[in-house]
């Protein structure tokens, strides 16, 4: 086996083997498990960074073997996949640290961390998959490995939410399977990157191709939480906070969005998709989702569901950017894939901190928390401002480029959608910030926090605080230093320049 096949395999294996080892370790081996988790997460970041460097130097990585005659398992590393891989490996580290602190002393931690690693391994596979068959393998593995995480608490609500989740995602997986097999029948055993294959087919097949496109969007749209396929997401909020952070910021919704990106760029090809007329449909769906998600977020009384609906809305920016036929929209979409991950994971970390430290779940209980937990609240503020799109946090860059892309694509009405969404973002985030910082809270004699833990030295445990601060800092830096190489924006530009616009 050559070194070029070894790296993607090792990247995948770093979390897959961790999952296996964790299942083999006894439940009580907390220290070993923690060490293993952190070491694997760091190793993976190093491997992904190595591949990123190698890729920019013109190195090729990948491996493939036939599963059956005419059907191959293909891993191949391209810049687009590596962007997603980088996001998931970076956030895996932070979420793991957070989860170690969050689940301290709770039962079934072996199961939790085992499936957690498996879930990250699946996102890794999704990002490195080189054909539809391989993509589907890891996409479905992601479904299976997140089920135990959503059901983790074992309460009736958690089990009901997990069932709903499964109902949505397995049906979606079936739609994907049917669509992908049909594409395989039409085009044979082909890999991502051979973009002329479908456009070269008989023009009489075009209606069929349009139908298959929407079938596959149906499949990916469930995980990407496109309205009306988003029903599972707010319910899955009963899961522990690290799961919400990982599910909503990285793994599940992003896998769906990433699948749509792959479908449009690497399966159909953006030009061919445009000529089929399917991109306009995507823009409409994305716009509806953006506005609907924001409006629903506004009506939520609890913090986590509000963040969940905000995710519904924000992930669709990616779809919107793809639908806008043009380089700027694409850059915005790809950069937002990473930006939204950083910001949303920060927000969920903070929501988890409030729940753990003070027992706060509802928004109206947040009065004056800024004094009791200033650092978490600072991180939350940064994340929220980024979501609204205030410079210099990264969210601004996404929205700005989307607006430019809309003008470039000749769809100025999309700007109205963006403005509406921004106003709604402000309407649901600013009151929270106001409560955090400017309302008097229980600390000034207005009663107690719903369930305060014993105060220690820091405002909350360092395991919980540091990841939130780190991701908040990253979302600030990614915005301020967007011009440096290897920033999400520059990487996205690189992807667009090298992979899509040149023939």
């Amino acid at each position: 086996m050559t070194a070029t096949a070894l790296l993607p395999l090792a990247t995948l294996g770093s979390s897959l083997m961790t999952a296996v080892l964790i299942f083999l370790l006894p439940e009580q081996a907390v220290r070993t498990r923690t060490l293993l988790n952190l070491a694997a997460a760091v190793v993976k970041i190093v491997l992904v960074a190595w591949m990123a460097l190698g890729l920019t130097a013109g190195q090729h990585y990948g491996l493939s073997f036939p599963v059956v005659d005419g059907l191959s398992f293909v891993l191949q590393v391209d810049k687009l996949g590596l962007a997603f891989a980088g996001l998931s490996s970076l956030l895996w580290l932070f979420t793991t640290i957070y989860a170690i602190g969050y689940l301290e002393g709770s039962p079934n931690r072996r199961r939790f961390f085992g499936f957690f690693s498996l879930c990250v391994a699946s996102t890794m596979g999704v990002s490195l998959a080189g054909n539809l068959f391989t993509l589907l393998i890891f996409y479905e593995l992601l479904t299976v490995s997140t089920y135990p995480l959503v059901a983790h608490r074992g309460t009736p609500q958690a089990l009901a939410a997990a069932s709903v989740y499964l109902r949505y995602t397995l049906s979606a997986g079936l739609a994907l399977l049917l669509g992908m097999v049909a594409l395989q029948v039409l085009g044979g055993d082909w890999r991502f990157g051979e973009r002329t294959l479908l456009s070269g087919l008989d023009p009489a097949k075009r209606p069929l191709l349009i139908g298959l496109f929407w079938l596959l969007i149906l499949g990916f749209g469930v995980k990407a939480a496109l309205v009306p396929l988003h029903g599972w997401l707010p319910r899955a909020m009963v899961a522990p906070a690290p799961v919400s952070a990982l599910l909503h910021a990285v793994a599940v919704v992003k896998a769906g969005a990433f699948g749509i990106v792959r479908l449009v760029y690497d399966v159909y090809g953006i030009g061919f998709a445009q000529s089929l007329g399917v991109l306009d449909g995507l823009v409409v769906i994305a716009s509806v989702t953006i506005v609907y998600g924001s409006v629903r977020a506004l009506t939520q009384q609890e913090l986590k569901p509000r963040l969940a609906f905000s995710t519904v809305s924000q992930v669709s920016y990616i779809v919107l950017g793809i639908g806008l036929f043009g380089p700027l929209g694409t850059i915005a979409a790809l950069a937002h894939l990473i930006h939204q991950g950083l910001m949303k994971v920060t927000l969920f970390f903070c929501a988890g901190n409030y729940a753990e430290e003070l027992g706060i779940h509802r928004i109206d209980e947040l009065d004056g928390v800024g004094r009791r937990m200033p650092l978490s609240s600072l991180a939350f503020t940064l994340g929220a401002l980024g979501m609204i799109g205030l410079p210099p946090v990264v969210g601004f860059i996404s929205k700005w480029l989307l607006g430019l892309g809309a003008v470039q694509a000749g769809k100025p009405w999309v700007i109205a959608v963006l403005v509406t969404s921004t106003l709604l973002n402000m309407a649901y985030f600013l009151p929270i910030l106001h409560r955090l910082w400017f309302r008097p809270g229980p600390a000034r004699g207005l009663g107690d926090w719903p369930g305060e833990r014993k105060p220690g030295g820091l405002e909350t445990s360092a395991w919980l605080l540091l990841p939130a601060l780190a991701t908040a800092l990253l979302s600030l830096m990614a915005g301020m230093l967007a011009g440096l190489p290897f920033s999400p924006l520059q990487w996205a530009t690189l992807v667009v320049r090298q992979e899509y616009l040149l023939p």
Partner: protein
């Protein structure tokens, strides 16, 4: 006419000999069993490698009776699968007997019967002759009934007697079919029959008789009624062998005969496909409604066998490309399901034995106390649902590809509905294990061997999904019969 190779004879008769030995002195430790049993799959593996390059065939003359046999890549692989599964169940049985505290004598009959079953199955894989096939089928059926009777309880007795009745009716239909074929064409060896027999009315009636007998034995809808009660009351290792191998053998013979005698009869093939579809749906619905864990697993067998039946309409009159797809998918599905079903029965048996429960609600708390068996159940379920990466998934992908390529969309619909149904009943089981607030019940500790053997089989079913090319290359070599 060449002489019968000695290793074939050895592979045929070593299991019954070992079975008799074990019946005389039942093994108490897995070690002894593995020591004596492991050579069998190894020889089978060697045969697979040997017969891949050149298929073996021959004829045995007993007085006036000529018995034809052959071994090609496909049947050698199936024989290997048989040996692996029998050995796995035997290992499981040793641990099972120890934990359930049976006096060694009452379980002693298990061993010779298992050996007889191995002989019967081996005869069927070798047979190229309707008489030899009949002998193998009867031996297998009688041994299976004997194995079912072993628990000695009233419900086991009832269920296995009913099974015996069904099997006898099936044999009767089979004998009538053979008689008709012999009368019409004057010979019973498969190759010769395929050469001389024309698809006229007599052949069709004979095939209808043979098929109905085999459908009965294979528990294909609507002739499946005997299956669930039998599995519910039988010992776990016996259910594992039965669900994984015995019912599939009849399917194998059915496919063999149809391909040889009526390869292009589309209406009959569609009828069989329709029966399979109904089996998928009905089996899924019943598994969903079943109250006991073993019943869920047994009903899922009914549904999964239905997938195999889709091979008939997809193969009938198909072009070469589609036929190759279906041919590979069928054997992959059969092997994957056999491994996964055995693993699932063992895992379910472990869960039941350890918790003492019979209903699904008794599984609460198993994720903490029996994580390994639960994991095995989940892994086996991946194959049954057809989730990646598993043999079930790859097989389903190929079947879908075939049904799209041949324009028979209806089977894709059946596959889709079957997937959803199987996900529903499997996750109904897994869901119970997540419940945290249930009263703590005493758990019985299990020997590690019982859990590991099930895990190994489940993992094999998953590995088969990604490494399908290795065995399927052999299957392709042994061209469509």
């Amino acid at each position: 006419m060449n002489a019968t190779p000695y290793h074939l004879l050895w592979l045929l008769f070593a299991p019954p000999a070992l079975g008799l030995l074990a019946g005389w002195r039942p093994p108490r430790r897995e070690f002894w069993l593995l020591l004596f049993g492991l050579p069998l799959p190894l020889v089978a593996l060697w045969l697979v490698l040997a017969s891949a390059s050149e298929p073996m065939a021959g004829c045995l003359t007993l007085g006036g009776l000529e018995l034809h046999w052959r071994l090609n890549g496909l049947t050698a692989l199936l024989w290997l699968l048989t040996q692996v599964l029998l050995l796995g169940s035997a290992v499981h049985a040793v641990g099972n007997a120890r934990v359930s505290g049976l006096p060694p004598r009452s379980g002693a009959w298990l061993w010779p019967l298992l050996g007889g079953l191995a002989l019967g199955l081996g005869l069927i894989w070798l047979a190229a002759d309707l008489v030899l096939l009949y002998l193998g089928l009867e031996l297998m059926g009688l041994c299976a009934v004997g194995l079912m009777l072993l628990p000695g309880k009233v419900d086991a007795l009832m269920a296995s007697l009913r099974y015996l009745l069904y099997a006898l009716v099936g044999s009767l239909a089979w004998l009538l079919g053979i008689a008709l074929l012999l009368g019409a064409w004057g010979r019973l060896d498969l190759a010769g029959l395929a050469a001389v027999a024309e698809p006229n009315t007599v052949t069709r009636i004979a095939m209808a008789l043979l098929s109905s007998g085999l459908l009965l034995k294979a528990a294909i809808f609507p002739l499946h009624a005997w299956l669930a009660p039998v599995h519910g009351s039988a010992w776990t290792p016996v259910s594992a062998v039965h669900g994984a191998l015995v019912v599939k053998v009849s399917f194998f013979i059915l496919l063999l005969l149809w391909r040889l005698l009526l390869p292009d009869v589309v209406v009959g093939a569609w009828a069989l496909g329709a029966l399979g579809s109904l089996a998928v749906l009905w089996g899924g619905v019943q598994a969903w409604r079943a109250a006991g864990l073993k019943q869920v697993v047994a009903w899922s067998t009914v549904g999964q066998l239905g997938y195999l039946m889709l091979a008939f309409p997809l193969l009938a009159g198909a072009g070469e490309g589609v036929a190759t797809l279906v041919w590979q998918a069928t054997w992959l599905q059969l092997a994957g399901h056999a491994l996964a079903k055995a693993a699932m029965f063992m895992a379910a048996g472990n869960l039941l034995l350890s918790t003492g429960a019979t209903r699904l609600e008794g599984l609460t708390g198993t994720s903490r106390r029996l994580p390994l068996s639960l994991l095995t159940f989940g892994l086996a379920a991946l194959t049954l649902i057809g989730l990646p990466p598993s043999a079930g998934f790859t097989a389903k992908w190929l079947l879908l590809q075939a049904s799209f390529a041949s324009g028979q969309w209806i089977w894709a619909l059946v596959l889709a509905l079957g997937t959803l149904l199987s996900a529903t009943y499997v996750f109904r089981v897994l869901r119970c294990s997540f419940v945290e607030d249930a009263p703590a019940t005493p758990f019985r500790a299990l020997p590690l061997g019982m859990e590991l053997i099930a895990l190994a089989l489940a993992l094999a079913a998953i590995a088969l999904g990604l490494a399908a090319e290795l065995p399927l290359a052999l299957v392709r070599l042994s061209a469509l019969p």
